[in-house]
């Protein structure tokens, strides 16, 4: 009879094992889960992440040593039209001021944020933290061309 019991246990566990895969039962751990990352106490806007290139199509930007004035002037034009409803150089407004942005962010990160804010918020932790810091106000995608975004970046260097 012991053998029978053993076989029965085997049968039952086999059944459970087989069907368990479909139920995808996980260990219950309500209230126990820890976030994978420890939250930085520094506000996202003050954090320095110069090696973070963000998520998006821009993977490499070479900044010339000297600011390209012509490009920056074009960038200012685009910025004034498309960005000033939310960003002001002299103060924090709906979004952060772009002043000194390149001391904290890589040029690639800045361009990716301009060109594809939806993807950034999904895939980049810093962009996500910024969204929360700025009251959940989403960065609008103003559909700038890559050239326009590059010009805006150049303008930021002059602020």
């Amino acid at each position: 009879m012991r053998t029978l019991t053993k076989i029965l246990v085997l049968v039952l566990s086999l059944t459970l094992f087989c069907c368990g895969g479909n139920d995808k039962k996980e260990d219950v751990s309500y209230g126990k889960k820890e976030p994978a990352k420890t939250v930085s106490k520094v506000p996202a806007s003050q954090r320095v992440e110069l090696s973070n290139k963000g998520a998006g199509s821009i993977t490499k930007v070479d900044l010339p040593l000297v600011v390209d004035d012509e490009l920056a002037a074009h960038g200012k034009e685009v910025y004034d039209k498309m960005c000033t409803a939310c960003h002001k150089a002299e103060k924090k407004f709906i979004g952060p001021s772009p002043k000194g942005i390149l001391e904290r962010r890589s040029p690639e990160w800045v361009m990716n944020m301009i060109l594809n804010p939806e993807k950034m918020v999904k895939e980049d932790q810093l962009a996500r933290d910024l969204l929360m810091e700025f009251n959940g106000s989403p960065m609008a995608n103003q559909n700038l061309t890559q050239e326009e975004a590059r010009a805006v970046l150049e303008y930021f260097r002059t602020l």
Partner: protein, 650 residues
Amino acid sequence: MNKIGKYVLGIAALIFMTNCGNNNSNSNSGAMSSSKAEKVYVAPGEHDEYYAFFSGGYSGNITVAGLPSGRMLKEIPVFSQFPTSGYGYSEETKAMLNTSFGFVPWGDAHHPDISQTNGELDGRWIFINENNTPRIARVSLATFETEEIIELPNSAGNHASSFVTENTEYIVAGTRFAVPNPQRDMPISDMKGEFKGPLSFVSIAENGRMNLEFQLNMPGFNYDLAHPGRNKSHGWFFFTSYNTEEANTLMEVNASQNDKDYVAAVNWKKIVDYVKNGGGKKAPGTYAHNVYDDKTHMATSTMKEGVTMVDPREVEGAVFYIPIPKSPHGCDVDPSGQFIIGSGKLSTDLSVYDFDKMITAIENKDFVDDSYGIPVLSYENTLAGVVTQPGLGPLHTEFDGQGNAYTTFFISSEVVKWSLETFEVLDRQPTFYSVGHLMIPGGNSRKPFGKYLVAMNKITKDRYLPTGPELEHSAQLYDISGDKMELLSDFPTHGEPHYAAGIRADVIKDKSKKYYELSENEHPYAAKSEAEAKVTRNGNEVHINMTTIRSHFAPDNIEGIKVGDKVYFHITNLEQDFDVPHGFSIIGANTSEILVMPGQTKSIVWEPKREGVWPFYCTDFCSALHQEMQGYVRVSGKNSNVPLKYTLDE
């Protein structure tokens, strides 16, 4: 032990199989793949294969549905005010509803038709006619917005409309109610011979602009439906007419006395040449021509005077009548252009005319009669054949491009499939109930997409949950890809769809506009950045050039407005992304809200009647901070000295 062991193992195997077999349902789906449910199921996030544009009838608008799902995608305002977007309420769009009778807030939309190139649907525009105040509208299939409306003078009941020739050269508009032309004060009973039924020909320019080229001053019968010739019969237009009795009272009896009425066959190319060579007479006729510009985001209305009137008897070989059994409705041309199908709605047979025979009869002057000087061709000698006893009350026919025709029968509530080769009935399916028109995407063009058929039923009754005495009209989707038609689903449509037009989605979906370029906005009161936002006063007229972006207005605090002012809010949406409109409304405005698309400017007027501080807000949920998207206007007494001031975050 061994025995028991084997026994237990056997049970184990059984449990294993049954338990896990149930969870593994994929293997069974093959047998279900042809189910009706799967044929109309469009999975979440997937797109329908076809767009279907339904006329709204007395809603005055067009509703857009996807096929095969029947999901409603949009209502496009055309002839009726539409508070959802502010169409006909906003300062920019009021002019679209201007007519020679003044502002008309409503229309009766009937027959949509999609523009064509070489007889195939090209997806540039959809046209639709208005029956009550005769008009034709052109709707862009890039923006799904009404871009142009032209009124038709001297016409009444614009029903035989708005059908497009195969290179979108012309659309037509026939008069359903014979009227004096020109209109004048006369006894109704003197109608006979005095009333007319003008047929209007409107040309379409390369950019879509419509122009009323001429009117053909036909005898005063009621012109009901029309279709242009295709392929070999391109250059001709065919109209059904009823009330050849010219009765003016108790029409349901008195207009059904004659055994036969007429199909009017019109060689429009001949008449176009005649008019180009100076033919026709200038006749009176006042009509509004309204055009919407998507750069200024504004409509303008121009009142025009005079029309070229052509007497059909004066253009040799251009206009003929063909007898058709009793009170016809549909007049449909097959994709080859060879056959013209006349549906005598009080007859039990379908008359199929042969274009070649008609031409031969004309050449041989094989006339049996004349009607007010217009030659009447012989019925027998123009006939290709008759589809005998297919049903009761034939109304309308379309084609699948595979040699078959599909006709609706109102009285016997069915769709009947028949062969264009043998004129034999191949299949019949009931409709629920009392079908009017049907639509096969592309079914009135040279190249139908012969996969689905939609029947538009006039009576709904028990098909849906009851919703009081009024029910939305029911449409029914049939799969026509096989030998037999298969009813797949019912779905409700808005208003009363008299007709619909369908097109494969891929012809238009990639050209659909996602937002308006801010840099191309030429609205005179646009504020294209917050720096351009301002408030200006001119006497008691105040203009507020305001911007929106997620999620604030600029300015959002305004002071110095006075009771008795006329305040124009001009809202420019600074967003440059797909599907991010902002709305605007303010307490006490005697108009609707406006929904402003990205890059667009729209305006409403507000005339504050009471002192106070009055809020305005965004009506369209735009972001997590939408609820915060609001502002205040301070309204002071008529003679107050509060200075004009506008701010944001100060």
